[in-house]
């Protein structure tokens, strides 16, 4: 056994033990040390860099590490085997994706406004904000020697009479506290119940004097990021909000790698634990602690996520999703309860899952579609969710069509050498001076935070500005020279946005031709999907009345720049609306309103799913779109 020490830039360390020949990345995963490995550890992506501080490693050298860097101790964790006691430094950029969990007791005004706005719009569409959960007060006659009915029967009788019901169900959790609560409150109690026309389920019981809030939990499980809100189910008030990196990231950046990991022995449990035990449960505890709210009083949960994520969350074999003919285990399920999968809220809480439409168009899109309200307008709207998979919905109140395209993780900073999620240290906006080629940028975080990398919105800005300044050509290759433009020994160009001295990490923040190429492919996938879907309906972009853009790409996208690089269609900018994380907002609405939940099932059932891979012209469209702004420049008349 050898001792392996992982040191972090903040000075903390994690120590573990390993056998000779063990893989360093595997050891890190087992020790819960987060090292980004989007390629699943096969030496392809070069992201799992660590620096050897002492001891020895048996490392296979790859192209990702230059000779000088190798001299300095840099190694790829996935290519390194343990041969002795060793201490390695895990640099910030590698662990940046695992942002500190962020909990806000009350979200910012803008964020609250998104939820308030969604509530108002859904009500205007004639959908009631009501659900089947209620707090009811019951007063019973205390038992006596003449009235010897037991507690359960006494409560049941009172509730049946009160609501004129056939049946009342009292679970063990209530039974256990029933005698005490009844006697402490002199048989005047409050019950949290779910009522249907002839049946009632009692979730909880409290003394009459207690002020009971029915908690609900809406969660968006993204491939990269998980976000959640804790709400009051009676009025929709947001009590707490939280977001964190999806703990599954260490098993691969995209859904395919996750599925492959899940198929390995014990993998399904590992993946489920990563998202529930390591991600969602800590988020629940943090939110509850921040507002002193008992976890047990969360009686319902709604999850919106892509098809793979909801399968892995529910612990269901997702392997058929990735293989022809790509069949999910479910579109819709209503048989999931908190106790089934270990979500630490009330164990009888029902978990609603936003319905899937296809193997690659999931509940995040149906929930987002609900929020976009495109189903309630006669005008034609386009809804775009920019994530690891790009998903599109186009239509109006008469029809809706959806498709998914594989954009890759570039929008969330994956596959980009200095890419990162939109967390502290991410450059989220940038301009470049055309003459001097000097950048100025905005960084996420407290004022004075130094840049560490680029998030999606920052990448869009940098590429658009590099193109406008004539620094890169439409292929994304560098055509100007200057202090900030470098070429490595293979001739690959890069542009330095922040030199090491200005940056918050041990590396320059730069964008390379390979990064630009990856991003051009991502934007090409989105634009060609838009064109292919519209063409199949005999529409062109001028017929789009509104475009709703969603996704965790950054605090906001500069739409002008997104059009300039040919990612979004060249239509008047006022037609674009950024609606934030519509998956979470949709989950919130489904949680709060049973009619909204039903509406979402209806939307999902009525949406036509188009499989782009079966459209012969898609590849042509895609290659045409892999150019800035597009090979057919007549599609972008406003870009000179």
């Amino acid at each position: 056994m050898f001792k392996v020490t992982f040191a972090f830039e903040d000075g903390s360390v994690v120590e573990t033990y390993a056998n000779e020949g063990d893989n360093l990345l595997e050891i890190a995963r087992e020790a819960n040390v987060a090292i980004d490995a989007p390629c699943s550890g096969n030496g392809a992506c070069g992201k799992c860099r660590v620096q050897l501080k002492s001891g020895e490693l048996d490392t296979k050298k790859t192209l990702h590490i230059s000779d000088e860097e190798f001299q300095d101790g840099w190694r790829l964790a996935c290519m390194s085997k343990i041969i002795a006691d060793v201490k390695v430094l895990v640099p910030d950029i590698a662990s940046a994706y695992k942002s500190r969990m962020k909990v806000a007791d009350l979200s910012s005004k803008e964020e609250i406004a998104i939820f308030e706005n969604a509530k108002r719009e859904i009500q205007l569409a004639g959908i009631d904000l009501r659900n089947s959960l209620d707090v009811i007060e019951v007063k019973m006659a205390p038992p006596s020697l003449d009235d010897t009915m037991p507690d359960v029967e006494r409560l049941s009788r009172a509730l049946r009479k009160f609501m004129n019901l056939k049946r009342v169900r009292i679970p063990y959790t209530v039974l256990r506290k029933l005698p005490d609560v009844l006697r402490n409150s002199d048989f005047a109690v409050k019950c949290v119940v779910r009522t249907t026309p002839d049946d009632m389920f009692v979730y909880d019981i409290f003394e009459n004097k207690e002020d009971v809030v029915i908690g609900g939990l809406a969660v968006d499980i993204g491939t990269t990021t998980v976000s959640a809100v804790l709400i009051n189910m009676e009025n929709g008030e947001i009590l707490a909000k939280s977001s964190a990196g999806n703990g599954q990231i260490r098993f691969g950046a995209d859904v395919i790698n996750r599925i492959i990991e899940a198929v390995k022995p014990g993998g399904r449990e590992k993946l489920q634990d990563a998202v529930i035990k390591e991600t969602i449960n800590p988020m629940i505890h943090e939110m509850c602690r921040s507002i002193s709210f008992p976890e047990q009083q969360i009686y319902r949960m709604c999850v919106a996520s892509n098809t793979t994520m909801n399968h892995l969350f529910a612990g269901i074999n997702a392997d058929p999703l990735r293989m022809e003919p790509y069949i999910p285990a479910f579109f819709k399920t209503n048989s999931l309860f908190a106790s089934d999968i270990g979500v630490e809220i009330n164990q009888d809480a029902h978990i609603i899952i936003a319905p899937n439409i296809g193997s690659y168009v999931g509940g995040d899109i149906t929930a987002g579609t609900l929020v976009s309200m495109i189903w309630n307008r006669p005008e034609f709207s386009l809804f775009i969710d920019l994530g690891t998979n790009g998903e599109l919905v186009f239509g109006n109140s008469d029809f809706m069509m959806s498709c998914a395209c594989s954009a890759g993780p570039a929008f969330e900073g994956g596959d980009i050498s200095c890419g990162m999620r939109a967390t502290d240290g991410a450059i989220e906006a940038c301009t470049i001076d055309k003459e001097t080629m000097e950048p100025s940028y905005q960084v996420v975080g407290e004022p004075g935070t130094k840049p560490v990398g680029l998030c999606g919105s920052g990448i869009i800005d940098v590429i658009s500005e590099l193109f406008s300044a004539g620094i890169i050509n439409p292929k994304g290759k560098f055509v100007r020279e200057g202090e900030r433009i470098r070429h490595d020994k293979y001739g690959m160009g890069s542009y330095v946005i922040a030199f090491e001295s200005e940056a918050g990490s041990s590396k320059d923040v730069e964008i390379t031709e390979v990064d630009i190429d990856n991003f051009i492919r991502a934007k090409g996938a989105i634009f060609s999907a838009i064109r292919t879907m519209l063409t199949s309906l005999d529409f062109d972009v001028s017929m789009i009345d509104d475009v709703y853009v969603a996704g965790g790409i950054g605090s906001g996208i500069n739409m002008r720049n997104a059009v300039k690089i040919g990612m979004l269609p060249d239509i008047p900018l006022e037609k674009f609306h950024y609606i934030g994380n519509s998956s979470l907002t949709g989950a919130y609405l489904m949680l709060l309103s049973t009619p909204a939940e039903k509406k979402t099932y209806e939307l999902a059932a009525n949406m036509t799913y188009m499989e782009l891979s079966t459209v012969p012209s898609y590849m042509d469209e895609f290659v045409g779109a892999c150019f800035i702004p597009h090979t057919d420049s007549s599609l972008f008349p406003s870009v000179e």
């Binding site: 050509n473 439409p474 292929k475 042509d620 290659v623 045409g624 150019f627 090979t631």
Partner: protein, 313 residues
């Protein structure tokens, strides 16, 4: 009911690009119809045929080709015979010996070959590189320099090395730039866009949009050429109006139909005949799909294809 012919008129035409100097020139392109649609409009310049010779001499050439060049011992003599071939419009010299994965001849040796050919013949010249993008990026600018005044076609710049080759051939030494892409209409157009952004005149570019020997997968070549012509003429897309040159021989003489010996495949017939058949079939299809010029190797193929062009023009 009488047949009433409606000519398909386009308000656009393929660029006319002339190579060669003095009174020895050929012009590619110039038409405003699909290939051989002379019933729509007469052809300005009929398609052209070039003869391929190599810096490697006659090594690896088929028996029939060797027989034609019998007695020619230097590259200059070979070039003279090639220029004199029946039906030949130009000579195409391929510098395959420069390939780092093959002979890896030094650039000076190759330039000497280019100079010897240029001195031996005064017909229009096409020079092809060794196909290795790094080597070509060094080699072809030198070729462009060596051929100053000849108005030669330099084949080819690719996406990876267009800056070096495009700038040297198209800007510094005033030659014609060959732009090579991989059988995809968008990639062909993208390379033309970035080349013209470099400052190269669009009217001094000839495309090689990639080819294959007739057979499985060849339909991509036909479809790509056909759509390029359609966009150039129908949509007046000036980034696709460059004439197309297709080096046929380099593809067809490498496939099994041409390389299998008669001893191995007696039922297939004489090897030389098969090579000619592959070359003629592929060239005919390329021309019908949209090539404005083809490069061939065997004298029999050159004769046959030029006859076909005259018969259809």
């Amino acid at each position: 009911m009488p047949f009433n012919q409606k000519p398909q008129k386009f308000n656009a035409k393929i660029n006319s690009v002339t190579i060669g100097s003095g009174d020895k020139t050929v012009t590619f392109g110039g038409d405003s119809t699909f290939p051989f649609y002379t019933f729509d409009a007469p052809s300005e310049n009929c398609a052209k045929v070039g003869v391929e010779i190599s810096d490697m001499g006659l090594e690896g050439m088929s028996e029939g080709v060797k027989a034609y060049y019998d007695g020619a011992s230097t590259i200059g003599e070979i070039a003279k015979k090639a220029a004199a071939m029946e039906g030949a419009d130009f000579v195409a010299l391929i510098l395959e010996g420069g390939d780092p994965n093959g002979e890896n001849k030094p650039i000076e040796d190759l330039i000497a070959v280019v100079k010897e050919v240029a001195e031996a013949v005064d017909c229009p010249l096409v020079v092809e590189g060794c196909k290795n993008v790094e080597k070509d990026a060094e080699l072809l600018p030198k070729v462009a320099e060596a051929l100053q005044g000849r108005n030669a076609l330099i084949l080819s710049e690719k996406e990876e090395n267009y800056k070096a080759i495009g700038a040297a051939a198209g800007l510094a030494y005033n030659q014609i730039v060959g732009a090579e892409s991989a059988v995809d209409i968008n990639l062909a157009k993208q390379l033309n866009v970035v080349t013209t952004q470099l400052g190269v005149d669009a009217k001094k570019i000839v495309m090689n949009i990639g080819s294959a020997a007739a057979g499985y997968g060849y339909e991509y070549v036909v479809s790509t050429m056909d759509r390029i012509k359609g966009a150039a003429l129908g949509q007046n897309d000036n980034m696709l109006q460059m004439p197309i040159i297709t080096p046929v021989s380099a593809e067809t003489w490498g496939v099994k139909e041409a390389t299998a010996s008669e001893a191995d495949m007696p039922e297939w017939g004489p090897q030389d005949d098969r090579g000619i058949d592959m070359e003629v079939m592929t060239a005919a299809a390329d021309l019908a799909a949209g090539s404005d010029a083809v490069i061939l190797r065997h004298p029999e193929s050159v004769k046959t294809i030029s006859k076909m062009i005259k018969a259809l023009a």
